[in-house]
Symmetry: C2
Subunit: 347 residues, 2 copies
């Protein structure tokens, strides 16, 4: 009788313990977290860099990674981590996004950005905005506060003012380095009018300093975002892949999140990031196989080498960052919590 | 001996005949041709139509089909047939594209269009243009004459002027019917400022009169195009799926061409037309199964009923036109040369 009482008590205690654990589980969800970012792909080689410039890029990428990761560690959403990481890079003059954006044929900074929430497939995008310091924040606001996915030009800016964004003067975006590239570019185009462009300069010397981030949060949700000033000497009003959902940015909890950098026109024609997701969903390919195929096979078939790269992660936190250019500014904090920053092939 | 001479002569004649036929074959390529168009999906019911209005729609769709088919019969390219068919619908005040476009929140006609060549995956797109009579022609010109895929707003218009497009005044696009819808729409939005939109009106009463065309030419090449004024009372600068490659428009000789009409935001989030192509390429689905799945399953899962439709054709000239709305203005000339025009379910 005493023994049976003891057994009963033990069973009750066990049941209580199991119950408590079951109740607690959703509150301290232990889904692994991870974040991966890029600061553009292109002709990035050890020879073209100085130790000082390397330090600056490393510091900026590290700061962006930490800003995004802090959101994830606090249990924040992947979309908010993506926004936080990209805002840091938009404020750095090193990258072609926000401050430091390249100039259009007409001498303007016209900025594009997009963001996608893999949990809901909600998305937001803006293009050709000129007076918004953080285009990724405006894309986030279009996603969250409007019935639309994409706003462009003056309409996008009017939406920004109505939502409390401050007016940012053109001088904020100016950097001597990008202005010089603009003038150099114009020289090669002198035989064509502003409206009748020659083909864009060969991609050989191009650096696509678009920035992007992909994150996985404690709830297992994936998000991706991209922000850019586009191509030096692009026609005014040109929109590349960065603000196009499925081209430069895509996220879906069922497959992956991805952000691209490169010759935007090719990324659009290939729906590059959505294709990675479809290869995983429809052919059962791994993230690595799908991303490598799109960058090293399909992108090269359509446009040749030196056309770009992509960062991507899947629901388990696997991270890939293939590129067909000499280098790509990139970094990640994986599910192991380790921070890595790389510029060149394999380092 | 005489018989063997006769046999030899017959064999020589046969060989000559076969040789002649073999030589001639590539010159008179006999790939079947076909074209399918739409003039929008929505709350299109027999009850809401008059016999007169039915006649007008039937005449306009027939004229557009014949314009596109004439190009194909002459051995012209699918991209040119698509452009020809859509230009007819852009000039008709019946459709929400070109003349007859709806008004934005700010009372503007802002037009979007795109075109894609399935033979090369080349594409062109424009968005938020206000003074171009034929946005599809401008998209065609961006594809053919610029290094870019997409131009928006003033930049797109400057490109148009430089390429000889005439300036079209806003009065060209004005129709009393669309202005009335604009005013009616504004009444329901009166509690919100221009910059802080309420959610878009429920899709129930919506008609998405976007136009589109998909064609298959004598060389077996597929092309697709779409043109629209977007949504009534859309925020100025809003871009829907029509000018987004992979969302409202996609073409690939290896799979299909497709053009969508409906709630653009959902088409963008699903990359709807590219998804049809991927289901065929990656899962081996038929055109019919893939298009039905995207319209009746995925689109309904994400946005509910009454959200749109798509027209599509494959390399063999199979034509499909599924929609989850009460009706869709649509027509085709199949590989049998028969012309069909339909408005409602099954008729």
């Amino acid at each position: 009788m005493r023994i049976s009482l003891l057994v009963t008590a033990m069973l009750v205690a066990l049941a209580l313990a199991v119950g408590a654990q079951a109740k607690e589980a959703p509150m301290t969800s232990q889904h692994p977290i991870a974040i991966v970012i890029h600061g553009g792909a292109g002709t990035i080689t050890k020879e073209s860099m100085t130790p000082e410039l390397e330090r600056e890029y490393r510091a900026a990428l590290t700061q962006a990674l930490k800003a995004g990761y802090a959101v994830l560690e606090d249990g924040g959403r992947a979309v908010d981590a993506v926004q936080a990481a990209i805002m840091v890079m938009e404020d750095s003059p090193l990258f072609n996004a926000g401050r430091g954006a390249v100039f259009t044929r007409g001498g303007l900074n016209q900025l594009d950005a997009s963001i996608m929430n893999g949990a809901t497939l909600e998305a937001g995008a803006v293009a050709a905005v000129q007076h918004v310091r953080h285009p990724i924040k405006l894309a986030w606001t279009v996603m969250s506060e409007s019935p639309h996915v994409m706003l462009v030009g003056e309409g996008a800016e009017n939406f920004a003012w109505a939502h409390g964004f401050p007016y940012t003067p053109a001088s904020w975006f100016y950097t001597e380095r990008r202005w010089k590239s603009h003038i150099e570019g114009l020289k090669t185009l002198k035989s064509t009018s502003a409206g009748t462009p020659a083909k864009i300069p060969g991609a050989k010397a191009y650096v696509y300093d678009t920035v992007g981030a992909v994150a996985l949060d404690r709830d297992g949700h994936i998000a991706a975002g991209t922000s850019t000033g586009g191509l030096t000497n692009k026609l005014d009003g040109r929109v590349g892949d960065s603000p196009i959902i499925g081209a430069g940015t895509y996220a879906n909890d069922a497959t992956c999140g991805a952000s691209g950098t490169g010759t935007g026109e090719l990324f659009i024609r290939l729906n590059l990031t959505k294709s990675i997701s479809d290869l995983m969903a429809m052919k059962g390919w791994s993230l690595e196989k799908a991303a490598n195929y799109m960058i090293h096979d399909r992108l090269v078939e359509l446009g040749g080498k030196n056309t770009g790269g992509v960062i991507a992660l899947d629901a388990e936190g696997h991270i890939v960052a293939p590129f067909n250019t000499p280098g790509m500014y990139r970094g990640w904090i994986g599910t192991d919590g380790e921070l890595t920053v790389k510029f060149y092939k394999d380092r």
